[in-house]
């Protein structure tokens, strides 16, 4: 029950700034403002992770999800994903401290030393699902000039790590209050793909804990990336 909300405090510790090596740590000279809007009707989104890194994408359509991504997609806990991005060319990261409700907007600012190879990864769980998440990974941002903007509308991905049975016991968000992460890979297709949407009890899946208001269509999130410094 507490899996969804217990990590709220843990997130504070993830707001780190990982500097490049060297005895003289360079001062951050660039700042991106990332503004996210939850476009769904009834899917709160877990605290949003925004990470800058130079490493590989955090997921790839058609490939199996990493365990770190599985944790985010099944429970909303982004700490493992933040750690894996930080460990492979991590530059800086910030994390929301509370869920982003339907219709809500919030901005995050992340500062970093100039690096032409900088990439942005953003991820959040749609918490009234088994393992749906929204995000963008390894978006090139190192060439942005001050004032430049990148706008994206994100689709909901299915992590492919948990069967979409929609039962109360497997949905960690307020619609279910059930379990978050577990290590089992119970989805018949263990691959990241576009989520097919939730069915809900109102649309004939009688064992579903979800209602019509929890249904969603793409896009599910609006993202605006601005270089402000």
């Amino acid at each position: 029950m507490s899996t969804l909300f217990s990590y709220g405090l843990g997130m504070l510790a993830v707001s780190t700034l990982v500097a490049c090596g060297g005895s003289n740590t360079p001062e951050p000279q660039q700042t991106l403002r990332v503004t996210v809007t939850n476009l769904t009707a009834g899917q709160p989104m877990s605290p949003v992770l925004v990470a800058l890194h130079t490493g590989a994408p955090a997921w790839s359509a058609g490939a199996a999800a990493s365990t770190a991504l599985e944790k985010l997609a099944e429970s909303g806990d982004s700490s493992a994903l933040a750690a894996s991005l930080s460990a492979a060319g991590g530059m800086a990261a910030v994390n929301g401290t509370a869920a982003l409700g339907p219709g809500a907007v919030e901005s995050h600012e992340v500062s970093f030393a100039p690096n032409a190879a900088a990439r942005l990864t953003l991820a959040t769980m749609l918490v009234n699902t088994n393992d749906a998440f929204a995000g963008v990974t390894a978006l090139p941002v190192g060439a942005m000039a001050v004032g430049d903007q990148i706008r994206q509308q994100l689709v909901a991905w299915d992590a492919g790590t948990e069967a979409n049975d929609e039962t109360a016991g497997t949905i960690p968000g307020p619609a279910g209050g059930g379990e978050g992460f577990n290590t089992a890979r119970s989805d018949a297709l263990n691959a990241v793909r576009v989520h097919a949407g939730v069915i809900s009890a109102d649309d004939g899946l009688l064992t579903s804990a979800l209602k019509a208001k929890h249904r969603f269509d793409n896009p599910v999130m609006n993202v605006l990336v601005e270089r402000i410094r």
Binding site: A61, G62, V155, L189, V194, G204
Partner: protein, 238 residues
């Protein structure tokens, strides 16, 4: 006169930018959870030709592709218009979460890229790309593709194995996922097909149900639904 000369000179200077041969590395990914693509047709062609157009009635060749997965007619038509094709680069069905790769070296006149494949199991759903302008600058380009409805067959969501693939014959010809049931009463009547426009439009998606031996649909709401986009095409311009 002077203006005309300048314009002509400008056009001559621009021509090489807007039409040039290109070596393309093409990858097509099925982004769905449970929908299979019939053999893909990828075509580079002149700006004036199309495999399909949204808001336009389907050609007979498009209907054959969308209802039965037969790309022969579309291939013949686009090649007759000067186009070049990659037919069936996946060597059969492209399963969920799978990708197919191929290389296409286009001629200068073939500035547009299009793609079609039928979605199984559907009555006449297909994934499509219509006339994407092939970039001239080297780089990697990604386009997400939607599911369209050919508008030629009512979306009964009833299986009609084999026979349903013929143009004009109601029913879904195959479900490679093996999750479809039977005995449904039909989401809509097979005729008249008055629940949708008779032009290419965004597919409404399938309903399905959880009753494998009855209900309204032979499809399974837990296995056969999708949300757009259903495919991603990545093009590397060399």
């Amino acid at each position: 006169m002077k203006h005309k000369l300048i314009l002509t000179t400008l056009l001559a200077a621009l021509a090489p930018l807007s039409s040039q041969a290109a070596d393309l590395e093409i990858s097509v990914s099925n982004l769905t959870a449970g929908i299979y693509f019939t053999p893909l047709l990828v075509a580079a062609h002149p700006a004036a030709s199309h495999l399909f157009q949204i808001g336009q009635g389907a050609s007979g060749a498009l209907q054959a592709m969308a209802e039965g997965g037969d790309i022969a007619g579309l291939k013949t038509a686009v090649e007759a218009a000067g186009g070049q094709t990659l037919a069936n680069p996946a060597n059969g069905l492209l399963a969920p979460a799978q990708s197919a790769q191929a290389i296409l070296s286009t001629t200068a006149a073939n500035t547009r890229l299009s793609l079609t494949a039928m979605l199984l199991p559907t009555n006449d759903g297909f994934v499509g790309l219509d006339g994407w302008v092939i970039p001239t600058a080297p780089g990697t380009y990604t386009v997400d593709l939607n599911a369209y409805d050919a508008g030629t067959e009512a979306n009964t969501e009833l299986m009609n194995p084999g026979a349903g693939g013929a143009p004009g014959v109601s029913g879904i010809p195959a479900d490679p996922s093996g999750k479809a049931g039977s005995g449904g009463t039909g989401v809509v009547p097979a005729a008249p097909n008055d629940a949708e426009p008779h032009v290419v439009h965004i597919h409404r998606g399938v309903l399905g149900d959880t009753n494998a031996s009855g209900g309204t649909s032979d499809l399974d709401s837990r296995s056969h639904r999708w949300l757009n986009p259903v495919a991603r095409i990545t093009v590397v311009v060399k």
